[in-house]
Every structure is written in structure tokens, then in C-alpha cells.
């Protein structure tokens, strides 16, 4: 069997007993085969990471027009043709005049103290920057940054002193809050594409609401102003639904009882 077929089967956990032994023998005795395996896994990793980014970027372009409702019998085809023509011209003008930068999620900053790490590159996020999956956003102690999504009212404000990774959004918007805080106003999301925010202790699943999230090394605090958020512990999968006007905390032991917003003690 060719090496790459063996490596593929290994990565897909499809090795038979004989193939497993063949791979073990190969890796134990052939230095070049070991190098080839690492190269193959590296290459596959890049295929998936970059491929997912491209898939995510093109997902926003796949807008399918809605089917028109059945027309009444007295429908005038002449007027319809005029209307279709006008719509087409308007659409073309809209497309032609649409700013090019509004194609993907954007990061707007309040000052020079916001940095984006993209691969090995570090850049200062001045003005509007189009975000890519894998970007890591660092806000200094006196600057905030806002993530905006074109075509909807969702806004996510990253608080000063925070560290956030902007993740692949192909299955719904996703962020990881590694440190600090953020507050968000989220437009209604499709149930299959909920906004997911991951912290060291919890996952907040959001379908459309206003809320704030803050995390440190011990605990994550969620305040929901409006709507509802599914708050799940990353360690034991315990979950609570936090509705508007309520808060919850989560550490390694799971989310606490939901308490009214005003009486929630600070973590």
C-alpha cells in the first residue's frame, strides 16, 4: 500500500489490524516515512484550515432568492416585465455601488492599542479590518474593538484588556474569549447557526439577544439583558438557560443557579 493511503487511513481511523502493523513497522524503522507522515499531516491540516476559511467566506455569497408567491389570474405580464427590468437595474446598481470591504466580518477599533495576530503576522488594527478565521484580537487596557457582520445588526464589543480568537464561522458565528470581557447585541440567528462564544469554562449559545460575558482564570460570568442564552459548562456539560434580566456564573463545576441581574455578585 502506498504511504499516503496508509496515512489517510490512519487519519480517518480506518486502519485494519494488518495496516496498523504495517504503519507501526514503517514508523519504527524508516526515518523518511516518519518525516513523510509529519509532512502529510501538516499538509492535511492546512487543507482543512484554509479550506474551511474559504468555505466560510463563500457561505455569505450563497444567497438563494426566495420563490415568488403564486400570482392572481388578473396578473399583468407587461407590468411584471417592467418591474423585473427595474429590479434588475436596481440590483445591478446596488451591486456596483456596494463597498468592497463589506463582504466579511469587520473589526473596528477605538485606537491604536488593538492588535491582530494572523498566523505569524502581527498587525495593529487601525480603522476597519476584515477578519479571518484564526485571527487573534488583543485589546490594550484602554481600547475596545467591535466586530460587525455585514447585512445584519449584530455587534460584539470586545472590552479593554481582552484576548479573543475569531473562529471559523461556517457552522455559525464563533468566538473564543480567552481573557477579559465582551458585550454583544445579536440579531436573530438561524437555530442551526447560533452564535457560539467559548470561554475557558463555558460555552454560551446565542440565537439573538443582548448580553455580556466576562472571564478570568477561575470563572466566567454571563449577564443577559434581553432574550436568552444557553450557558453550558465545558467540563461537565451541565447547562442552564439564562433569560433577560438574569445572570449566571460557571467554573469547572458547572453553571450556578440563575440569579436576578442586580443581585449577582461579581466573580
Amino acid at each position: 500500500m502506498k504511504h499516503h493511503e496508509l496515512f489517510d487511513k490512519y487519519l480517518r481511523r480506518e486502519l485494519s489490524s494488518a495496516e496498523r502493523l504495517e504503519l507501526i513497522k514503517l514508523l519504527a524503522h524508516d526515518v523518511e516515512a516518519g518525516r513523510a507522515l509529519v509532512g502529510y499531516v501538516n499538509e492535511t491540516t492546512l487543507l482543512v484550515r484554509v479550506g474551511s476559511q474559504i468555505e466560510s467566506a463563500s457561505a455569505g455569497e450563497n444567497i438563494v432568492p426566495l420563490k415568488s408567491a403564486p400570482q392572481p389570474r388578473a396578473f399583468s405580464w407587461r407590468w411584471a416585465a417592467v418591474l423585473v427590468g427595474l429590479c434588475a437595474i436596481t440590483s445591478m446598481m446596488l451591486v456596483a455601488t456596494r463597498p468592497r470591504h463589506a463582504t466579511g466580518p469587520q473589526l473596528a477599533t477605538t485606537g491604536a492599542g488593538v492588535q491582530i495576530t494572523r498566523g505569524v503576522q502581527e498587525m495593529s488594527a487601525a480603522g476597519d479590518v476584515e477578519l479571518r478565521a484564526g485571527d487573534v484580537i488583543t485589546t490594550s487596557t484602554n481600547n475596545t474593538a467591535t466586530i460587525r457582520y455585514p447585512g445584519e445588526a449584530t455587534r460584539i464589543l470586545i472590552q479593554p484588556g481582552s484576548l479573543v480568537e475569531f473562529k471559523d464561522s461556517s457552522g455559525g458565528k464563533q468566538l473564543e474569549l480567552l481573557r477579559g470581557g465582551l458585550s454583544a447585541s445579536v440579531a436573530p440567528q438561524a437555530t442551526t447557526h447560533a452564535l457560539l462564544i467559548i470561554t475557558p469554562h463555558a460555552r454560551a449559545t446565542v440565537l439573538g439577544t443582548e448580553f455580556a460575558l466576562r472571564t478570568d482564570e477561575v470563572v466566567t460570568k454571563l449577564d443577559v439583558l434581553e432574550g436568552k442564552v444557553l450557558f453550558t459548562c465545558r467540563f461537565n456539560a451541565k447547562k442552564v438557560t439564562v433569560t433577560g434580566g438574569f445572570s449566571s456564573f460557571s467554573d469547572r463545576g458547572g453553571p450556578t443557579t440563575v440569579v436576578p441581574l442586580q443581585s449577582a455578585a461579581k466573580p
Binding site: 487519519l11 507501526i24 499531516v41 492535511t44 498566523g119 487573534v136 480567552l178
Partner: protein, 189 residues
């Protein structure tokens, strides 16, 4: 692999500085975790946990030593944790193969390999963007989502053998494309 003194962090390090330096090896760590865990989603989880641990244990890092080697050791620990946790449910890890694959990464995933990875990434972006959407879906379905070949064959209306052959050809085409881009980049002024 000997510890290489190539870390950009040389004096006392804050958690933030160390995390930022460690993030430069994000792709390499995902690749390592993917190699150990053979599951894309679990590999992502392991790397997330790795960065959380890097932040928590930043004081234990010795400035001037190899950040890649240090974070890889953490990633190994997190991968083992995941396997152990899942061993209680459905998946029992193959310790012998795990150790062998781990040894290959320790030997061959060094700073030079990471530099190559970053160059390839930029070129691959261009090459993958030129693929037809269904070809990209096939690649992601096979590697990221581990969709069964029979199902991929049904979705793409081909035989299982044709799917495997197509994947091999796509990877070969992409490899050529990346090579060409890297060669062109070298000759550009």
C-alpha cells in the same frame, strides 16, 4: 529533538506575551494534535485547552527556551486527557501508535518545518480558492468531517474508488500549485 534557543521571548514573560508567542505555532500545534487524535474537532479542542494552560502556567516557562517544544508538551498532555476522557465512552486510544506518531512529530516538527508550513499556507490559500465548490466540499468532507466514503460517493455520484482516486489527484494538483507559487515567490524581485 534538542531544545532550540529560537524563542522571540527572552526576558521575563507576561502571560499575554507568552500566549502571543505561542499563537504563532497555532497551525503546527493543530497539526500535531490532529496527528495524535485523528479527529479534527478533538484536535481543535486540545489546542484550545493548550492555550488556556499556556496562559495559566506562563510562570513555569523558562525564558530563552523553545516555546514550540514547551507548548507541544502541553498539547500532548491535553491530547492524552481527551483520549482518556473519551476512552470511558467510545474510543480507546492506541498507545503504541500514539507514542510512535508523537515521536515523529518531536523529531520532524521543528522551527524549519513551521516556517515551511506558513509559506505553504499562503500559497495554498490561492490554490484552494481556485477549486470548484464541490471539490472543496469533497476534501473537507473526507478530512475534516470524516464522512464515510460510501456517503461521499453517493453525494458526488461516483464510486468509492473514484472518490479515493479523485482525492489523491486533487492533493497532487494542489501540491503542484503550491510548489509553483513558492517557486514564483522566490524569483519575484
Amino acid at each position: 529533538m534538542p531544545e532550540q534557543n529560537e524563542s522571540p521571548v527572552t526576558s521575563s514573560v507576561s502571560a499575554e506575551d507568552l500566549l502571543r508567542a505561542a499563537f504563532k505555532y497555532h497551525d503546527a500545534l493543530v497539526s500535531y494534535a490532529y496527528g495524535l487524535l485523528q479527529d479534527w474537532a478533538l484536535a481543535q479542542d486540545a489546542v484550545q485547552e493548550t492555550f488556556i494552560t499556556v496562559q495559566k502556567k506562563h510562570a513555569e516557562f523558562t525564558p530563552g527556551t523553545n516555546i514550540l517544544a514547551w507548548t507541544r508538551r502541553i498539547a500532548r498532555y491535553e491530547a492524552l486527557n481527551i483520549l482518556r476522557a473519551r476512552g470511558r465512552e467510545t474510543f480507546v486510544g492506541d498507545e503504541e501508535l500514539f507514542a510512535l506518531v508523537d515521536a515523529q512529530f518531536e523529531e520532524h516538527l521543528n522551527h524549519d518545518a513551521v516556517a515551511v508550513l506558513e509559506q505553504q499556507k499562503a500559497a495554498l490559500h490561492h490554490c484552494l480558492a481556485q477549486l470548484e465548490p464541490d471539490v472543496l466540499q469533497l476534501l473537507l468532507g473526507f478530512y475534516r468531517d470524516r464522512v464515510a466514503c460510501e456517503r461521499l460517493a453517493a453525494v458526488h455520484r461516483r464510486s468509492v474508488n473514484a472518490i479515493r482516486l479523485a482525492l489523491s489527484r486533487i492533493r497532487s494538483r494542489l501540491r503542484d500549485c503550491v510548489r509553483l507559487h513558492l517557486a514564483l515567490a522566490e524569483v519575484k524581485p
